[in-house]
């Protein structure tokens, strides 16, 4: 398999996921099959194909610099796991 356990752990850390040993193996296999599929696509000759930066054939969607109403504070904070006055309260991370 292409992907090592260490790489799985690295990706998990970046996503702030705590994986059990069993999960690391399970996801290693699944991620590998995704990568293998990408390998197949990679075999295509794309020499003459322009890169796709976006899947829709649309460009330059801009909006005017005009204010709209903001969300009422109570709605903003209603799903916060923890609230402190006007603030969201989260575990300290420095």
């Amino acid at each position: 398999m292409k992907l090592s356990k260490k790489e799985v752990e690295h990706v998990a850390l970046l996503a702030r996921l705590a994986l059990s040993e069993e999960e690391k193996e399970r996801f290693r296999a699944q991620l590998n099959s995704v990568l293998e599929y990408a390998e197949i696509i990679n075999q295509l000759d794309t020499e003459k194909v322009a890169p796709t930066y976006h899947v829709l054939p649309i460009q330059n969607v801009e909006r005017p610099d005009k204010e709209h109403e903001t969300l009422p504070l109570e709605e903003t904070l209603q799903n916060a796991p923890q609230r402190d006055g006007n603030y969201f309260r989260v575990p300290r991370i420095i």
Partner: protein, 476 residues
């Protein structure tokens, strides 16, 4: 340390003062109650669709052109992924491999020499929210997302800067240009301009690239200069002692006057950028670029050159006057209406700036108008007030916004040019100071100045100085 030279590149973030945020229509305002300038888009709630603010694009192109950049015909937004509670989406909308502007430069002047500093790129991104950490060892932080989504430009210089003074000059010029084109307030104290520095040192005259450190936490132009000075010293000492400079991120500690290692961010630079599927590509037509170029105001360097040729100012004075657009506008409004533009320059770079600094004001908040300064200069010309009294009048005008004539009347500051009255005072002074008069007659030039001073004192500075000189000379 003399055998080393520094290689410095600066990364500057400026907040653009558009009316609304970058990708949603929330007001872009500083200092509001926490979490009141937010909406589902900048909160990163599921199912929302960000759309770029046309003003962000306009401002970014304007800045790119003012910094002599090429404007990309095709550009796009990418997601920079990282987990930190100041970003509710867990990614920042930024630009990665196709920034809007590239390959620019700006010119700085240090010790009379001009140097061109390259600008690698200017790209658009969104600002993050603000964290307030709990006091004492508290295990929580508070999140305010008002700033999340505020439009930013990231301006990255080439590693062309060689000294801390050049770094400061670069920042001053950048601030000046961005204020001229009216895209940002550039206030480092309010965080609307932020600067990080990359720095390494090498034996002078070589082109070795040694490991560099990244310096953060510099909160003023002065701090940038001091931090770089301290870091150069530190790196030179490491090399001189036979050691190796570690590539790391360090924080400037203002109190200690030195840089200290920051705890390295775990897996810091693995941002896994990818094109943001929510935002469509940006295609900039040559027409749009030329329109924005045409609309650019005269920029500081060009204006300084014009001030030297049109008003006969020294390069130095022209540089001081044009560093801020508001100051240059004030000066020019006076100079156009007064016979002696150099004299105006002396007043504006002298008393005017002295009072602006002493009163800690922004130029746009000054009550004194250009017309009032011109009126005051005309009062000097007419002999109504002396140049010395004018300083008092000027300060009063500056603080109250009143007209010079009004102040002169109120305070009885009209110059005494009445020969009879002055003769009487001269007579008194001469009689009261026989010793000094004798000194003068014995060739002591300084004694004369003392007598003039006494007349001035007796008239509270209002005596016409030319007349006093003449009357005194005649009398003794």
């Amino acid at each position: 340390m003399d055998n080393y030279e520094a290689v410095i590149g600066l990364e500057v973030h400026v907040e653009l003062h558009t009316k609304t945020k970058a990708f949603c229509s929330c007001p872009n305002e500083f200092g509001k109650e926490p979490n009141t300038n937010v909406c589902p888009i900048c909160l990163g709630l599921p199912g929302v669709l960000p759309v770029i603010n046309e003003a962000l694009l306009e401002y970014a192109i304007r800045a790119g052109l003012a910094l002599n950049c090429e404007i990309a015909a095709f550009s796009k937004f990418d997601r920079k992924n990282y987990y930190y509670p100041d970003l509710p989406k867990n990614y920042q909308i930024s630009q990665y491999d196709l920034p809007l502007c590239r390959n620019g430069y700006l010119d700085i002047e240090v010790n009379g020499a001009t140097r061109r500093i390259g600008i690698t790129r200017v790209h658009m991104e969104e600002d993050a929210g603000k964290l307030v950490h709990g006091e004492g060892g508290a295990d929580y932080s508070l999140v305010d997302l008002n700033r999340a989504g505020v439009p930013l430009l990231e301006i990255v210089s080439e590693p062309d800067i060689r000294t801390p003074e050049e770094a400061k000059a670069y920042l001053e010029k950048l601030k000046s240009i961005l204020s001229y084109i009216d895209v940002s307030d550039c206030k480092m104290e309010e965080g609307s301009l932020r600067c990080d520095a990359n720095i390494s040192v090498r034996p002078a005259g070589t082109d070795i690239l040694n490991p560099k450190t990244e310096i953060k936490n510099m909160n003023s132009f002065r701090a940038v200069q001091r931090a770089l000075e301290a870091e150069i010293k530190r790196q030179c000492a490491v090399w001189a002692a036979g050691g190796t400079v570690e590539s790391e991120t360090r924080a400037w500690d203002e109190n200690k006057g030195t840089t200290v290692p920051m705890r390295s961010k775990e897996e810091a630079s693995d941002y896994r950028y990818f094109p943001d599927p929510d935002l469509v590509p940006i295609v900039i037509s040559p027409d749009r670029v030329s329109r924005i170029r045409r609309e650019l105001p005269e920029l500081p360097d060009a204006r300084a050159r014009r001030f030297t040729s049109e008003y006969g100012l020294s390069a130095y004075d022209a540089g001081v006057l044009t560093a801020s657009r508001a100051l240059a506008d004030f000066y020019e409004a006076c100079a156009r209406n007064y016979r002696d533009p150099k004299l105006v320059s002396n007043w504006v770079t002298g008393e005017f700036l002295r009072l602006v600094n002493a009163r800690n004001l922004e130029i746009r908040d000054v009550k004194l108008t250009p017309a009032h300064l011109v009126e005051m200069l005309e009062l000097i010309d007419k002999g109504t007030i002396s140049g010395k009294i004018a300083k008092t009048v000027f300060e009063e005008m500056f603080d109250t916004g009143k007209r010079a004539e009004e102040i002169v009347k109120e305070k009885g500051l009209v110059q005494i040019s009445d020969e009879g009255e002055l003769s009487r005072i001269v007579e008194e002074v001469v009689t009261a100071n026989p010793g000094v008069v004798a000194d003068y007659r014995n060739g002591k030039e300084k004694a004369f100045a003392f007598l003039v001073g006494q007349v001035m004192k007796a008239t509270k500075g209002k005596a016409n100085p030319q007349l006093v000189n003449r009357l005194l000379k005649e009398r003794i």
